[in-house]
């Protein structure tokens, strides 16, 4: 989303915003991120994917005439008249160090690693601040009940921007706890994929080596023919029981 003309569309109205207290006139259609660039800022911190997933551009702002602080991702929040804003360049937090292979998937693991978990006041300030709309307090409460899977699922879209931890009156580091919960869930609580395990074993045993040797020995013409002839598997909703006719290049047992 480069450049002024591209970002402003056709004759967008100009509105005043206050970047760290300084007034600038910017087109009303811009996001906070592009409005700052329009105003002449060049981002080093506070800018990453520009698409709402990396969590680099956490911004805190107040709107004119309102008392509440608001939070958002600068790349996803459109400017508003008389918006007072500042970006948060970094969130101080201590990620605990642990060996995922030695932990067990239970509340004690997380409580030992992040004892601040037990300080939660259930005030819901974290959820109100989350720019991804995650119910942060609910996933903390799930952890307190030992529900690691619930925490993992509720926190899945976390960008780890850290606003929850900045706002928390009990000084929890929610986003790091959720990170640990998701890893415990992925490693221990979700059942392992047995078809994957089997395939890795087959590869290690060299079962696919002859067919790979064969395909690599083909000339370009033969390769193109095989490419054009290959069978197409339908989507699972179309035919869940599909089996290919050609089985020579599979390992079935």
């Amino acid at each position: 989303m480069a450049g002024k003309k591209q970002a402003t569309g056709n004759g967008a109205k100009m509105i005043p915003i206050y970047i760290m207290g300084k007034k600038y006139e910017v087109p009303e259609t811009l996001t906070i991120l592009t409005a700052m660039e329009y105003a002449g800022y060049r981002h080093i911190r506070g800018c990453g994917c520009r698409g709402g997933i990396c969590g680099a551009c956490a911004t805190v702002y107040r709107l004119s005439g309102e008392y509440g602080l608001k939070f958002g991702l600068a790349c996803q929040t459109v400017v508003a008249p008389d918006m007072y804003l500042a970006q948060i360049p970094f969130v101080p937090a201590n990620k605990a160090i642990y060996d995922i292979e030695k932990l067990t998937p239970d509340i004690n693991s997380i409580g030992r690693v992040y004892p601040d978990l037990y300080r939660c006041l259930a005030c819901n300030t974290c959820s109100k601040a989350c720019p991804m709309g995650i119910s942060v307090m609910d996933y903390v409460q799930a952890l307190l009940k030992g529900d690691i899977a619930g925490c993992a699922r509720l926190s899945h879209s976390c960008t780890m921007c850290g606003i929850c931890a900045l706002r928390c009156p009990a000084e929890l580091q929610q986003f790091h706890m959720a990170m640990l919960a998701r890893r415990l869930y992925g490693r221990y609580l979700q059942p392992r994929a047995r078809h994957l395990e089997k395939r890795v074993k087959q590869i290690k045993e060299g079962k696919f080596d002859p067919m790979m040797d064969e395909i690599m020995s083909l000339n370009n013409h033969e390769l193109k023919q095989r490419y054009a002839r290959r069978e197409w598997e339908p989507e699972s909703y179309e035919n869940p029981d599909w089996r290919p006719e050609e089985t020579k290049y599979l390992v079935l047992d």
Binding site: C54, I100, V200, Y227
Partner: protein, 564 residues
């Protein structure tokens, strides 16, 4: 995964303006008929190879002659490349090599391996180098993890189901790349894939699985079997945050220097790469890192806006590693064609150019023109799908124009819930759903306007199947490399390639270091030579590279896409 309990963020309700809502009616009118056809297993026909080549030649931005020129300098001299890439390569260093003579004698850091780049390829290389007993320094331009990896949405390929095998994965990958791929790299890619998924499972990555633990797998463009492993629509973010977490569990062995991009490589008296000059973006100071080997993992070039296209890429994707390694003598391969992803957002303008994952089409969304007609198979390889959209807008007047005067075609997302059940969009495409919901558009009931957007640097540094370049001591992995994907990459193969080659390079570099190296004196001699050849070939410019940050400030703006 949005759940019932999660609240919606504060809306900035814009929504579709009345004139677009009117156009949507044409899409809605044909929807029941299209649905019935899919249920009867009648799909829009795929193009044959000949038809595909024809549409590419006429409509793909890089098959046309404009916007490119013959390179005047370096190992690829004489090759015709996009102007933006040629500009990058025909540039002077950011630093004066003579000013560093004394500094090079006293390095600020010494380590076994220096990894340039903090995205997925660098992270995987670091974890495997550490596992092989090496000390690692990761130097990255922005925050650790800020990269195109974190933005990957749809999935990662691996042939692990009984009806699939690395043989078909190899065939799909070669065909998608128009058979210009390096077969040895493709073999490594496809045979290592299941091992990689198992490694990620062990690290605690949350994959989409059924209750028995089976991976829920989908297809992608040009992919003949269901092979795509996902984590809702944010597999890249899920993987990247796990890897970043794991790296931070090893602070003794892996040091991460953020906001410290490399501005030059350093070469010793044996002509081996032995470190780099870093530039601290915040303090504006240079530092010298001496290393026994260097891994280039700086990612791609999307933010160079090749052919004037908007991009899905991360802010840092300015092709830095191409410039650095090219000066050191590494050739570039498969650089002729960039990848334009067929489905970049056109409206709302705040999301302009951003990626709509291919998973949207694997789940059932179709390409629809302004008259409500489907005009291409939803899962053609990306270059062909993009060309079909450009043709539809340019020649067949099937385009839809947004209030911003940008145009595109409809991507009919409401088909997904109709095919797979209500709530599928919200569950399987949670990040995308939220990104549009913020602007008052519910993609489970309203279609999206899309147009191709610059997505991936198909080619790059030449490597062997262990990630070694032809310059001793310099290794490379990830988007900065070339040859794996040929002229066109398939969905789910880049997230795979950063892992396969990140791992291979992490392992190989330890063998290289254990074999012992002889050089000791750091030098910028290659930069002096490169400057000399720029002068000799008459390249008169004040450009410097790497550019580090795209210049979005005080610039007269291009209109995307550039009119030909």
């Amino acid at each position: 995964m949005l759940t019932k309990e999660s609240k919606m963020v504060e809306g900035q309700a814009i929504g579709y303006p009345p004139e677009l809502k009117k156009l949507i009616r044409a899409v809605e009118q044909t929807r029941p008929e299209r649905l019935a056809r899919i249920k009867a297993n009648q799909h829009f026909p795929r193009l044959t190879r000949e038809e595909g080549e024809k549409v590419l030649k006429s409509y793909h931005p890089d098959y046309r002659p404009g916007g490119r020129r013959r390179l005047k300098v370096g190992v690829n001299k004489g090759e015709i490349l996009a102007d933006e890439v040629a500009d990058l390569l025909e540039s002077y260093s950011r630093i004066d090599p003579d000013a560093f003579d004394n500094r090079l004698k006293k390095p600020d850091y010494e380590t076994d391996v220096l990894i340039l780049g903090g995205g997925g390829a660098g992270a995987v290389a670091a974890l495997f180098a550490r596992q092989n007993g090496l000390r690692v320094v990761i130097a990255t331009k922005l925050r650790h993890g800020d990269s195109n990896t974190i933005m990957a949405e749809g999935g990662i390929q691996a042939a692990d189901r009984p009806a699939d095998s690395p043989y078909y994965h190899y065939l799909d990958t070669m065909g998608g790349g128009h058979f210009t791929n390096n077969p040895r790299l493709v073999k490594a890619l496809t045979m290592d894939a299941p091992l990689i998924i198992q490694w990620l499972e062990g690290l605690g990555v949350m994959f989409d699985k059924d209750n028995a633990g089976n991976m829920i797998e989908l297809k992608g463009g040009g992919i003949c079997r269901r092979r795509m492993h996902s984590s809702a629509d944010m597999i890249g973010a899920e993987i990247m945050r796990v890897q970043r977490d794991e790296i931070r569990n090893h602070p003794e062995e892996i040091q991460v220097l953020e906001f410290s991009p490399a501005v030059e490589l350093l070469i010793d008296e044996t002509k081996a790469v032995s470190g780099a000059v870093l530039y601290n973006l915040e303090t504006r100071e240079y530092s010298i890192v001496k290393a026994k080997a260097v891994i280039m993992a700086t990612g791609g070039f999307g933010r160079l806006h090749i052919q004037g296209f908007p991009t899905t890429n991360h802010y840092g994707a300015t092709g830095d590693g191409l410039a650095l390694a090219y000066r050191a003598g590494v050739p570039l391969v498969n650089m002729r064609y960039a990848q334009y992803h067929p489905t970049g957002t056109v409206f709302p303008e705040q999301n302009f150019g951003l990626l709509i994952t291919e998973k949207v089409r694997t789940l059932g969304a179709q390409f629809i023109n302004a008259r409500g007609r489907e005009f291409a198979h939803p899962l053609e390889p990306r270059d062909i799908a993009s060309s079909c959209i450009i043709r539809e807008c340019a020649e067949k007047s099937g385009g839809v124009t947004a209030p911003t005067s940008h145009y595109g075609v409809w991507l009919d997302t409401p088909m997904i819930d109709l095919l797979r059940g209500k709530g599928t969009v919200e569950k399987e495409l949670s990040a995308k759903y939220l990104q549009f919901k913020r602007y008052g558009i519910d993609i489970s009931i309203e279609p999206i306007i899309v147009y191709p957007t610059l997505h991936y640097q198909n080619g790059g540094l030449e490597i062997d199947e262990w990630g070694a370049t032809r310059i001793s001591g310099l290794f490379a992995a990830g988007e900065v490399t070339g040859g794996i994907h040929g002229d066109n990459r398939l969905m789910g193969n880049s997230l795979l390639d950063i892992h396969v080659f990140g791992r291979r390079v992490g392992v190989k570099v330890s063998e290289f270091i254990k074999a012992g190296k002889k050089g000791n004196r750091l030098s910028l001699g290659h930069v002096r030579s490169y400057h000399d050849s720029l002068i000799k070939t008459g390249v008169k410019t004040k450009r410097v590279a790497p550019i580090l940050l795209p210049d979005y400030v005080h610039r007269s703006a291009p209109v995307y896409p550039r009119k030909s």
